[in-house]
Amino acid sequence: MSALAEFPSAAHLTPSADGDSQLLEVSMGPQHPSTHGVFRMDVVLDGETVVKLKPIFGYLHRNHEKIAEDETYLGSMPYTDRLDYFCSLTNNWAYALAVETLAGIQVPERAQYLRIITAELTRLQNHASLVGFLMQDMGASGTPLMYAFREREKILDLFEALTGARMMCNYMRFGGCRVDLPAGWLEQAKQVVAAFPRFLDEYETLLVSNEIIMARTQGVGVLSRELAINAGITGPVLRACGVNYDLRKVDKYGIYDRFSFRIPLGDHGDVYDRYMLRLLEMRESIKILEQAMRDLPEGPFTDPKTKVRNFRPKPGEAYGRIEAPKGELGFYLISDGTPNPYRYRVRPPSLINLTVLEDMCLGRNVADVVIILGSIDIVMGEVDR
């Protein structure tokens, strides 16, 4: 019996002429350092070439959605921090937006600005760490990641001063934010943002035209435009394929229509484009931050009419979505008029972006799988929920 018979999906392969072909099934993960958490890929290899790859999920599953059905609407807010634990503020916003759509809550001006400032800072630190991790995955051990984490730490210090926590911020509330800016925060934030382009320049000088990086990433993990749309890919991975779809421009949620910024797009849809796109998006985020911090108005930071206790939206349903750093993060809520949601659904961008992982990896070698996965940017807290 041929070794191939054990792998029906590899039936199109023919054994080599000498009859010596053997496929090797390798379990990458769940403890592999490049999988960014507990994620497993069942990889079938022909020599060094990937002929089949099946992602296996669930190691971090805690049925977040079921827990939320037993919680009040506000009670789920801290749990959303734990979805994508790199970007708790955008998770908060997506959930708050869904509840505000469901209950018809208006958000005051100052709160809208605070949300945009915190969300764009989140995007900065997420993208900075992602490019750092990607370099780490490529074998640039230590230095690029530590440079990125140095910048990330400055932003996390801002989050800590504002919300009391570096990562589990739990900052947004329905109709606004939890607290106003502490004294001196804005000045400190302006300094961090003003210093950020220097980091990007430094990073680009070091890495963008680096010959090894280009050799490792260009033409690797190519994703076609059509497949990306059909497979529901969102965020930087989609835009690296050249599809102009950013919810900040399409939905104009919050007050994103007041700021001038551009949407960077890629050409080739390979790992290099995804990596470059994040660097470019950080520059656009800095533009938004500069405008938002310049225009930040005075006023209430939360809607005083929204009930905090015994909050019961009218029966109905709503889907709210935002452009999180990893893609479209959506919350779908069904209310039956009680204090708990009847159904609470998270549309996790990380999970759905993994749909095309196998398509991108087939025919590449194992070392490429690591950087293709790294370029998608997943966080298992969100994938497994």
Binding site: N230, V250, G316, A318, G330, S335, Y342, L354
Partner: protein, 206 residues
């Protein structure tokens, strides 16, 4: 997207389909379209390919469990024996339904959402719905998740396995009537003895 104008258009292009607009009374006003499972695939292909609709992006797939409304349980029932509960479970499974909701957007024309709903006939055996994976690849993992957590069987899905729970798991944890297995293990520890000793030392009784 105005469903009042979309509904006759779908009916004209997919002959024989039965559509119903489910209105949403909340301020979000996101109304949805209940479609029948026999024509779901044709409706999906029409929505994706019609040049002025082009819903090329299926964003979100949600499973919902709707058991038939039951009268509030009385206190006597809580002490009832297991056989009685089994009978009740069978009744609960024969009534009610499971629902799957698809949120569609258009990346090309940048509009949406159109919300499609499909319902199963009951909650026990007639839980088959057509998979829309041939129209949108994005439903791949999401339909697997609905199968995993709710038990909807998607006909035509090439790889319908559990996504988050392990393969040997048999129940559907997101259903409203799911009961966690009682696998609580009690183990007396030295800590309890320490507590007892403390209490005796302080002159109390155990």
């Amino acid at each position: 997207m105005n469903l009042e104008s979309l509904k006759p258009e779908i009916e004209a292009n997919v002959p024989g389909c039965r559509l119903e607009i489910i209105s949403n009374p909340s301020p979000s006003a996101q109304h949805s379209l209940l479609i029948d499972s026999e024509h779901a695939l044709a409706i999906a292909i029409f929505l994706r390919d019609a040049p002025h609709l082009r819903f090329d992006y299926c964003s979100n797939v949600t499973g919902i469990d709707w058991p038939a409304p039951t009268p509030a349980p009385s206190k006597a029932k809580e002490t009832g024996d297991a056989i009685e509960e089994d009978v009740e479970n069978a009744e609960a499974l024969a009534t009610g339904h499971l629902e799957v909701v698809y949120h569609l957007y258009s990346m090309e024309l940048k509009h949406g959402p159109v919300i499609l709903r499909m319902r199963t006939q009951d909650r026990s055996t007639r839980v088959h719905l057509p998979s829309l994976i041939s129209v949108w690849r994005s439903v791949d993992f999401q339909e697997r998740e609905v199968f995993d957590l709710f038990g909807v069987i998607f006909d035509g899905h090439p790889d319908l396995r559990r996504l988050l729970m392990w393969d040997e798991f048999t129940d559907f944890p997101m259903r409203r009537d799911y009961v966690e297995p009682d696998d609580y293990e009690y183990e007396p520890t030295a800590h309890d003895k320490v507590l007892l000793k403390t209490m005796q030392h302080q002159g109390g009784t155990a």
